[in-house]
Structure formats: C-alpha cells, structure tokens
C-alpha cells in the first residue's frame, strides 16, 4: 500500500505552509522595517522597503537618559539566563528524584507538584510580594530568579522525557560502577537529558525575557528594570514626544538575544543524544 501523495495535494500542502510561514514571519518583517523608519514615515503608512532612520532610532534608544536600555538588556540577560539554568537543572533533579527512586510519599509529591502547575502566578502574587518585602529582596533581581528553581511545567516535561529516554538500567549500571547518586545524575543523566534541557532552557529563557507581571511589581528603580518594563515605559511615556521608530527599535533590540539563544541551542533539540545506548 505505498500511495504516493498526489501532485495537487503537494501543491496545497505547500500553499498552506507558505501562508503559515508568511503569517509567522510577516510581523517580524514589519518590525525590522519599521525600526529603520522615522516616526513620520511610520505614521504615513506601511512600506515594504526599509527607511534611512536606523542609526537615528538606534542612537535615540541607546542615548535616552531616562531609558537605561543597556542596563535593561543586562538585567534581562541575567534574569533570563539564571532562570533558564536553574529551572532546567532543578526540574531535572526533581524529576529524577521522582523517577528513579521509590519512596513512600512519591505519589503525593507528584500530585502536589501538578497542583502547583494549575495555580496562576497572579493568585499568589500578593503573598509573594509580601514575603520578598519582608525578606528585604524587593527591588532586587533575586525574586525574579530564585522561584524558577521550582518550575512544575519544566519538571513535568523532564519527567515525561525520562520515562521515554532514560532506562533505569543505566542508573543501576552507574551504581555498580561505583558512581555516587549525585555523580550519576550529573555525569550520566544530565548528558542524556541534553535535548530536553535545551528545549526547556529556550522556553524558560524566552518566558523570563518576556515576563512583565512580576518584574513590574518587584522592580522600582530604573537601573534595576528589565526590557519589557522599559518597552512599556516608552510606550506610555509623554504622549507628545512619542516616537514609533524608537519603540520599534527597542522591540527589535529586545528580540535579538532570543534569536541568538534559539540558534545556539536548537541543534541540541535535533541531536538525539540519548539514542543508541540501550537497545529498545
């Protein structure tokens, strides 16, 4: 039964894919084009061709005394990278604990983590702000970074990945080989988890890069603020001086690191590191 897809089907499939690709990329195109155009040009209407105001927009973003873009980028980078590392490492560690060991409260622990997953951030925000204020962490980056240690969604992904890709015999083999439990996790389990770690690192990075809600509550000083808050500030700043070119430029600057992170980690997603060690 080897049916070849008909010519018409292929054509339709390609048309659909082209439309979807267009829908995905068109807005990026508008963004990049508009960051090269002046406020007046942007207001005049859309153009497919880039303008000549790239450096003007760039300079006005970088040299705005009220808008510390560079420290914003730095803060966003610190928060997002730390969150990506902590969320993936500790979620994998938690998932490993529940996957590889048998203990009495294993099931309740799993259910508890799943319950946290359905709790929206907004519900616990007031309590969270209360706690960090009492701990003296308000207006610092710590409250944005530390909670990522407990990331139930990442945990669940890691847990599912382990079920499909981490045979317990490997852990047992390592135990017999004389590896301590922690050493086994770092040297045997983590390398096998690389594709999952990469995927979740990208997600965690992007999520924290775009996070607005908690940083807006926690960060009060300009120098501590992250990029999404700066973009919002620029957008809601003095209405008369409102410069669309500048806004587009700042947004463009904001998405560049995400693209770099994606390109850097995407090869790990494709490379199935875990294949081959264990015969299925």
């Amino acid at each position: 039964m080897d049916k070849k897809p008909s010519h018409a089907r292929t054509v339709i499939a390609y048309i659909v894919l082209i439309i979807l690709t267009f829908l995905c990329l068109f807005f990026f195109y508008i963004l990049v084009i508009n960051c090269t155009r002046s406020h007046q040009q942007i207001q005049a209407g859309f153009s497919f061709l880039p303008g000549s105001s790239f450096s003007k927009n760039f300079n006005s973003v970088i040299h705005d005394a009220k808008l510390p873009v560079l420290s914003g980028i730095k803060n966003s980078l610190i928060v997002s990278s730390c969150c990506a590392v902590l969320a993936t490492y500790f979620s994998a560690l938690t998932a490993y604990g529940l996957y590889a060991y048998d203990f009495k409260l294993k099931k309740p622990a799993f259910i508890f983590i799943m319950l946290i997953l359905v709790m929206p951030t907004q519900v616990s925000a007031m309590g969270f702000i209360n706690v960090i204020t009492k701990m003296g962490m308000i207006n610092t980056l710590y409250p944005l970074i530390l909670p990522s240690v407990a990331a139930p969604a990442v945990f669940y992904f890691m847990y599912s990945y382990m079920q499909s890709s981490l045979p317990l015999e490997l852990v047992e083999a390592a135990r017999i080989d004389g590896s301590s439990e922690f050493h086994t996790f770092n040297r045997v389990v983590l390398p096998i988890m690389k594709p999952a770690l990469a995927v979740q690192a990208i997600f965690a990075f992007v999520q924290n890069w775009n996070n607005y809600f908690i940083p807006a509550l926690v960060l009060q000083e300009n120098s501590k603020r992250t990029l999404p808050i700066l973009i919002a500030m620029l957008r809601s700043a003095d209405f008369l001086k409102f410069d669309m070119g500048k806004v587009y430029m700042l947004i463009t600057i904001a998405i560049v690191p995400i693209i770099i992170v994606y390109i850097a980690l995407s090869r790990y997603i494709v490379a199935g590191v875990a294949l081959g060690g264990v015969k299925e």
């Binding site: 048998d102 045979p167 015999e169 490997l170 047992e172 083999a173 390592a174 135990r175 017999i176 080989d177 004389g178 590896s179 050493h183 045997v188 390398p191 096998i192 690389k194 590191v273 875990a274 294949l275 081959g276 060690g277 264990v278 015969k279 299925e280």
Partner: protein, 361 residues
C-alpha cells in the same frame, strides 16, 4: 575470587508480593551457574539481590565469606551485564569501559592497558572511539562485557545478555562468553529463560519456579534425572512427552498401561503405585523408529498429526490413545503426516512421576 551463598533469603516487595520465599543456594568459586526458569520465576530478582540492586527482606547473602546484605553495589566487587546493555550513550566505547576505573582513581596508564587487554580479547580495538549508537547489537554486547571485564570483579552477573541478539550472533556470543569464563576464571552467574543457553554454558544449572529452586545440578543430570515434572518439561527441546499410565503388576515386574500399550518397567518403587495412575515421561528421542529397537515389545502404533522435517531428523507430532506426543526420529525412518508409524519405547530411559506430588518416582 569468591563463591556466593544464599541462606534462607526472602524477597518481598513493598506491595506485599513475595517473589523469593526461601532461597538456599551455594554457588562455588569460579563456577558458571545459570539461573533458568519461566518469566516471573524470581531468577532476575535473585541476580539483582547479588548485585545489591534489590534489597533482601530476610536471610543472609554472602559473597566469599563477607555478609553482603547491607553492602552497597559498588562495594561488592561485582560487575553486571544488562539485557539491554545499559551503555552510557553519550560516552565513547573507551570512556564507557573506563567509567568505573576513573571513579576508582585507577592511574591512566593502567586504565589504558586494561582497556587494551579487554578490547583485544573481545575484538573491540577498532571501535574504541565510537559512540554506542554507531555499533551493532553484538558489538554493544561485547562493550558491555568489556566494561565488566576491566573492573576485574570477583563475580560476573549477566542478566539475559543475549536475548536481544539474532540467532546466529547468539550462538557466537554464547561460545565467546563460555571462553571468557574459562579465561578469566571468575564466578559467573547467568540468568536466562532459554534452556539451550543454560544447557550449553552452565557448569551447573539452577532451575527456578515461583521463586523456589526446583533442581540445582549439572546439565547432564538435569536432563537425565529431572527431579519433578516441571524440570522434566522445562529442560529439553522438544519437550518431554507426559503420558498418564496405569501401573499393573506383571509376572516379571510392573507394566505401565495406556491405550493398547503395555510398557514394561522393572522398578520396585512402583509397588506402592499398583493400580494407580502415574505420569510416564518419555523424551522425544526415546521413541524409536529404527528397526533395531523393535522386538523387545513396548511398541506403539501412532497416528502422525504433523511432521516437521529438520534435515537430519524429523519431528513427528503424534496422537496415540487420546494423548499427544512428539517423537524425534532420524529422517530416513520418519513417515509423513496423516500416516501411522510404529515406534518402540526405550524402557531404559523412561521417567516416572507421581501424579499428585509431581515428583520423580
């Protein structure tokens, strides 16, 4: 080097299921012991208890003269080869083999020498830089063996190591593992459900069922003198024929009657079974079609349901007096399906079992 002793060992899982109720077993130093039995008979659990991967609920386990109940796997000086090889997929063959040595802080030169030695024996030299996924099943299996060898363990544990290989490779690896055992002179404990592997490799075979050792003996003794119906049926392929037969006293001794057949059995033990039904066990090769076996009586005329021609011999699936039987006869004396054939029963080699206790008489 060390032997292994189980003293009244019990294994009960957390859910209350007892897999091994009371295990007493003594494996001698340098012996190749095969644990064999059907799925769920507790053979793998037993092996994993030796490895320390399963805790022991009760009883004592000794490796050498050291009590091992509470000793961590890494301190037992054992090496294990897993069914699915369990190679570290992100490490090269070389690194897979040195993983344990690095942890034991073995000097680099010595490590290299050991890997070279193992690779040479197993023919792995060209593959040392490869990752496991770039190897075939047989090569991976050899890496798993090599990884165990370099550690110089007191005991080798092998958990169905050949079950993922194709038939030809399995035969090849079987002889390679046997050779390896002779060469290393270490205690080997090998788990399998394949009786051919058990018969060909083991110095002694431990047949298990429901966590209980049925018989622990040499392959020849298991085949010739099975202690009960289970062992008799498990060892030997095709399986032994079991026929319900009535014991009758004759002028010369006793006879076993089924259908029209009367098989003479000169066994004084049968005295207490007179008039009762016992199970008569006949190995398929003890049903003879060759003419030299006729003339002593004990001949049955059976109908051939199906025949399987194997080349030198033929398997005949028979029906006689409502009982199914298999005979293994030389091809030139065999007949085809839907014909009748005369077969002589060799009374010297028949086995008798109590129908109730299933034990050998």
């Amino acid at each position: 080097m060390a032997g292994i002793t189980f003293k009244n060992v019990v294994k009960t899982y957390d859910n209350g299921v007892t897999v091994v109720p009371d295990l007493n077993l003594e494996i001698k130093d340098k012996e190749f012991v095969v644990l064999v039995g059907p799925s769920g008979c507790g053979k793998s659990t037993t092996l994993r208890m030796i490895a320390g991967l399963e805790s022991i609920t009760d009883g004592e386990l000794y490796i050498g003269d050291k009590l091992m109940n509470a000793v961590a796997p890494k301190n037992r000086n054992i090496a294990m080869v897993f069914q699915n090889y369990a190679l570290y997929p992100h490490l090269s063959v070389y690194k897979n083999m040195t993983f344990a040595l690095e942890l034991a802080k073995v000097p680099k030169d010595e490590m290299k020498k050991k890997v070279q030695w193992a690779a040479e024996i197993l023919g792995l030299e060209p593959y040392l830089d490869r990752k496991p996924k770039a190897l075939s099943g047989g090569q991976r299996q050899r890496v798993a063996l090599g990884r165990a060898m370099v550690r110089d363990p007191e005991v080798f544990l092998l958990d169905e190591p050949l079950s993922n290989l194709d038939a030809k490779l399995r035969t090849e690896m079987r002889s390679q593992i046997s050779k390896l055992h002779k060469r290393l002179g270490t205690t080997f404990v090998y788990v399998t459900h394949d009786q051919t592997e058990a018969m060909t490799m083991g110095d002694r075979i431990c047949v298990m069922k429901d966590g209980i050792v049925q018989q622990f003996d040499t392959p020849q003794n298991l085949y010739d003198h099975p202690c009960n119906l289970f062992v008799a049926g498990f060892i030997g392929s095709p399986q032994m024929n079991f026929i319900d037969a009535k014991v009758k006293k004759t002028s010369t001794g006793y006879a076993l009657c089924f259908g029209d057949a009367e098989v003479a059995a000169d066994r004084p033990e049968l005295a207490s079974y007179e008039g009762k039904t016992v199970v008569l066990g006949i190995r398929p090769e003890d049903l003879h079609a060759e003419p030299q076996f006729f003339g002593k009586g004990n001949v049955i005329d059976a109908y051939i349901d199906l025949d399987e021609m194997m080349g030198s011999e033929s398997y005949l699936y028979l029906e006689y007096a409502g009982q199914k039987m298999i005979a293994r006869v030389p091809a030139r004396y065999a007949k085809r399906a839907e014909e009748n054939i005369q077969l002589a029963i060799d009374t010297e080699t028949i086995h008798l079992f109590d129908k109730e206790t299933e034990k050998a008489i």
